[in-house]
């Protein structure tokens, strides 16, 4: 038998990361709204391999969502206006969480509400649920008590939601930021000060598309959230800016389709990534991305992903 010389022979690089108080065995998560409640993908991939599953956004009560048409493919991406359809937090705990508990994978509950009180109540219900590893707060929703402006659009509103949720739960708290703002770093700093353990970004960019023959919008909701490779450079820029503005870990999201896409985010400073639209194109995409990250670290003789995170060379 010929001995090989690679330092990494038999030693896989360390992929584990810590997001606040949340330990993940690897930094690849699934993005909320693109992976159902996990069970939809169980026939295609081994969920045990994932760093974390972030489930479809949960509200206090079930929501039926928007009328169709709800999605439209656009250049290098897609628009969606699902309307946050979900089964509600209690049904999630009773019917979906037991399945997810069977896996050796962190479960992150993504939550949203229309008032701060709703956010607090959803977080409070999840706080006692066995098998929830962390909460991710979607602050892109309109605040019905503040004229429909998104919670995530203003630093003070974003901080108010974060404080409210923080007061209800001991679980690690990730706040998911919207890119539809003037300065995302100001929002990130505000939620950090309000008690967030990490921030994840970006949520979808608001967009629109029109059928010129009927002169109707392609989506019944008129506007929708743009995801996919089209938004990746914007997401990467915002992650890079945010990493320099806050001390808490940053989770990169936005059009990650391949390992090389994910690696860009790590180099820019993301501690973990979430894979979204790629799950729709190929249900095994998230595992290919994970494998590709590991191969890259081996090829670059890095023993730990920490060596890669934030290693961007400028100047």
């Amino acid at each position: 038998m010929i001995a090989t010389s690679g330092e990494n022979r038999g030693d896989s690089p360390n992929l584990s990361v810590t997001i606040g108080r949340l330990d993940l065995k690897n930094p690849v998560m699934t993005a909320s709204g693109t992976f159902g409640y996990g069970e939809e993908y169980a026939p295609f991939i081994d969920l045990n391999r994932l760093g974390a599953v972030v489930v479809k956004g949960l509200s206090l009560e079930p929501r039926s969502g928007n009328p169709p048409p709800r999605i439209m493919e656009t250049p290098s991406g897609m628009l969606n206006a699902i309307g946050l359809q979900n089964i509600g937090v209690r049904v999630f705990i009773d019917e979906k969480l037991p399945f997810l508990r069977e896996f050796d994978t962190a479960v992150v509950a993504n939550i949203f509400g229309e008032t701060v009180d709703e956010y607090r109540r959803v977080a409070g219900i999840l706080n006692g649920a066995e098998g929830v590893s962390a909460i991710e707060v979607n602050i892109s929703c309109p605040n019905v008590k503040k004229g429909g402006i998104a919670f995530g659009a203003l630093p003070e509103l974003a901080a108010e939601v974060t404080r409210g949720v923080r007061g209800e739960t001991d679980l690690p708290l990730i706040v998911k930021l919207t890119p539809n703002v003037t300065d995302i770093t100001a929002i990130a700093a505000a939620v950090e000060a309000a008690g967030a353990d990490a921030v994840s970004l970006i949520n979808t960019l608001t967009g629109m598309s029109v059928d010129i023959e009927t002169r109707r919008p392609h989506l019944a909701n008129v506007t929708g959230g743009l995801s996919g490779p089209a938004i990746r450079p914007v997401a990467l820029r915002m992650v890079w800016q945010t990493v320099r503005a806050v001390k808490v870990p940053v989770i990169g999201i936005g059009g990650i389709m391949t390992a090389s896409d994910a690696l860009e985010f790590f180099i820019a400073g993301a501690t973990a990534v979430q894979v979204g639209t790629a799950n729709f194109v190929n249900p095994t995409a998230v595992l290919k991305i994970l494998d590709g990250i590991e191969e890259y670290l081996v090829r670059h003789k890095m023993a730990d992903i920490a060596e890669l995170i934030g290693s961007l060379k400028t100047g």
Partner: protein, 278 residues
């Protein structure tokens, strides 16, 4: 998800193509009415796979062949139409819930318009309507198209059902919609022993509901909607279901369908042009 190799991909009518894909034996046998998500292996754009109904399926000792009939309707299907034998495509499926034959059925009425023939062609080819010892005559296929050159799938139906052809321009068969002929026959059918299977454009489906309203004849209709994932995760392919006295709810065409009970589905409301949660 599996990779298949195109063995044939030819135009069968203006703007209509029939693709044959060779797949590994491990590909599960589809049930009539099921669909696949298909994407060219070398495809960058468009990003998403496209849902296509199974037109026919053949199992051989060392492989299987999937046949897909499609109409070029946009960027995705235009790309498919340019694929050549030897090209590879990734296929996810079979997916969704297909047609079911209710107990006690002795007469099957199939109603298809345009490319909607695909799932019903597979239904006939798989012999579902002729189980329980029925004769082929127990199935009547009402097949419509705009004109005779746009009629597709006819060859595969011969001898397996009583075929009634309709064209909008009268260039073959009855001049008018398929529902004209169905209307004439429907009163002679015993609702306890009859079922209607349908797939076609929205105007055809809209006519079926009032036509069958006063009968008790069950009707299963295969629907289409834009889909991103095909496996119930994206919630993009919602259709409204409900009915008198029932709350309107959304169902997923990919997972709860694509075959639905005609009486459950609600007409698509005009867009209400609101801006809300996305």
């Amino acid at each position: 998800m599996m990779t298949g190799k195109i063995s044939d991909n030819r135009s069968v009518a203006p703007g209509h193509f029939l693709m044959r894909l060779r797949l590994p034996s491990s590909f599960a046998t589809p049930a009539p009415g099921q669909f696949v998500m298909i994407r060219a292996a070398a495809q960058g754009e468009p990003l998403l796979a496209r849902p296509l109904s199974v037109f026919d399926f053949h199992r051989y000792p060392d492989h299987c062949v999937l046949e897909l009939l499609y109409r070029v309707a946009g960027r995705g299907t235009a790309l498919f139409s340019g694929m050549r034998p030897g090209d590879e495509a990734t296929v996810l499926g079979p997916l969704g819930r297909g047609f079911t034959l209710p107990a006690g059925i002795r007469r099957t009425l199939l109603v298809a318009g345009g490319v909607g023939v695909a799932p019903l062609h597979f239904l006939i080819r798989s012999g579902l309507p002729t189980v329980r010892g029925q004769s082929p005559g127990a199935a009547t296929f009402y097949l419509g198209a705009k004109s005779r050159d746009l009629l597709t799938g006819v060859e595969g139906l011969g001898g397996r059902c009583d075929l009634r052809i309709c064209t909008d321009d009268g260039s073959r068969g009855h001049c008018g919609p398929v529902t004209d002929l169905l209307k004439r026959d429907i009163d002679d059918c015993d609702p306890k022993e009859t079922v209607v299977f349908a797939c076609g454009p929205a105007p055809m489906i809209r006519v079926l509901e009032p036509l069958l309203k006063d009968t008790l004849i069950p009707c299963q209709v295969s629907l289409e909607e834009r889909m991103a994932c095909g496996i119930g995760a994206c919630l993009g392919c919602a259709i409204a279901v409900g009915g008198p006295g029932r709350k309107t709810e959304y169902r997923k065409v990919c997972e709860d369908g694509p075959v639905f009970d005609l009486r459950d589905i609600l007409p698509v409301a005009p867009f209400d042009s609101r801006e809300g949660c996305i």
